[in-house]
């Protein structure tokens, strides 16, 4: 191949000054683009690692492998879990290629954290639409129990990856296949999905659930996403749902990537009324207010009753718990012998969406 003739090139520029101007303009554009990329990467935590040079935090090739911490859950490791997941979301937003999922350090993943993780990687997969090759995972280095749980959940099928062999070890937890739906697709199928999830839980737990209770909560969660969480112009308008049974404890999780409850509540007509009632106004209190008073970001009469439906199953089963994480706020409602106890709080790291989690132990009719 003929090498470019530099002298000839300089001559061209001397003769045609506009070429130099065009070249400088292109240089400026490149410099601006790189500066912007570096800004975005500068915010990322070291868990996004350049696969060719792990010491380098700002990869030039825009490829990052995802490494997770040892424990991913929303109890003791909330902040670290959210940071890990936010990094994945950033990779999605920046169009970064994720060739490898490295979960070799991961020893425990809770059902809700697994749903959050799957939703983030799922969004990335949808965003790149197969343009950047296949996602790989060296699953032979993963902890067998984590691998088994993610297999049960349908993690690999969802991401279009080859499902690894079942490690064949006994574990106490069973994850049910998780469900993803777009707001539009859900119009015809969400009710059936909620019913199907209830049947699967009953089949694994071996106990009947009072069917309308779970249906009420899930159907209102889906309605809220449809009405409030996304704007029609949002690229992603999906929600994710999963179930798990852990030694008799049923955990049902529902997650969306929308504008969050605290993010939509201030538009409500009842905002001032609630604000007066609760005095303070952090994200946790906003969720609590929405739950106790009823919320409507539309300000239309008759709206805002939905969040109360989340409580029906909690009221029914003693010892059960509802948790809502939305932006920086979190609300826990526990069914205790003295009644329902509401606890709200604020986290340092925002969850970029809303997670609703029900935990309950279904009781056999003869025990009630």
């Amino acid at each position: 191949m003929k090498k470019p003739d530099r002298e000839q090139d300089r001559w061209r520029i001397d003769q045609q000054p506009h070429r130099l101007e065009l070249r400088n303009k292109a240089k400026r554009r490149r410099r601006h683009r790189n500066k912007h990329r570096n800004d975005v990467r500068g915010q990322a935590a070291p868990l996004l690692v350049n696969r060719h040079n792990p010491e380098q935090r700002q990869p030039k090739n825009r490829k990052v492998d995802i490494h997770l911490h040892e424990r991913i859950d929303l109890e003791e490791n909330y902040e670290r879990t959210i940071t890990d997941l936010t990094n994945v979301r950033r990779a999605v937003a920046n169009g970064v290629n994720i060739p490898d999922l490295d979960f070799s350090r991961l020893g425990y993943i809770s059902p809700s954290a697994a749903l959050l993780l799957a939703s983030e990687v799922d969004s990335w997969k949808a965003a790149i639409k197969g343009r950047r090759g296949r996602l790989r995972a060296k699953t032979d280095t993963w902890t067998p129990s984590v691998k088994k749980l993610l297999c049960q959940m349908g993690f690999f099928e969802l991401l279009g990856m080859k499902r690894p062999e079942d490690p064949g070890i006994p574990i106490n937890t069973t994850f049910l296949p998780f469900i993803r739906r777009n707001v539009t697709d859900a119009r015809t199928s969400a009710g059936e999905m909620a019913k199907e999830l209830r049947k699967q839980i009953e089949s694994v737990a071996g106990v009947e659930i009072v069917k309308q209770l779970l249906f009420e909560g899930l159907s209102e969660a889906i309605t809220n996403v449809s009405q409030h969480a996304y704007s029609p112009t949002d690229h992603v308008r999906d929600w994710w749902m999963s179930g798990a049974i852990d030694k008799g404890l049923v955990i049902v999780s529902f997650y969306d990537h929308g504008r969050t409850i605290p993010g939509t509540l201030p538009a409500s007509k009842i905002f001032e009324k609630i604000k007066d009632r609760f005095g303070g106004w952090n994200d946790g209190e906003k969720i609590r207010a929405a739950m106790e008073v009823g919320r409507s970001s539309t300000g239309i009469e008759g709206r805002g009753k939905g969040l109360q439906n989340f409580l029906q199953i909690i009221r029914h089963y003693p010892g059960s718990r509802l948790r809502i994480f939305s932006n920086r706020g979190r609300l826990t409602v526990s069914n205790t012998p003295s009644g329902l106890v509401f606890e709200s709080g604020v986290a340092e790291s925002p969850l970029l969406g809303t997670l609703i989690e029900w935990q309950f132990v279904p009781i056999k009719p003869e025990e009630q």
């Binding site: 909620a194 939905g306 439906n309």
Partner: protein, 110 residues
Amino acid sequence: MNISIAKDFSDVPWGRFPDDSVFCGANFRDQKLLPALRGNERVVVSLDGVEGLGSSFLDEAFGGLVRVQRFTPNELKAKLLVETTEPRLELYIQLIWEYIEEAARDLIAA
């Protein structure tokens, strides 16, 4: 006239508007309840067989009769009977009448 939500509409009704679900409260009201109420002296709605009924569905279907279609609670009490043979669904009957009354109060307040 008898209407069974589960058999004549859906056993998994949910959502408020068609943007939420094709089996939403607004569709049930406009496609099933309204024609029945306009063409009959007595309409019996059976809740039997539904998986559950969310408040968005109930409020739009029944509260919407007052809010949108301008029925009065007294007119509805004379024409509409909501019933179930399943004890687990009995609570919804009370809720339906609460939503109807609340919609009437909202209309007056507005």
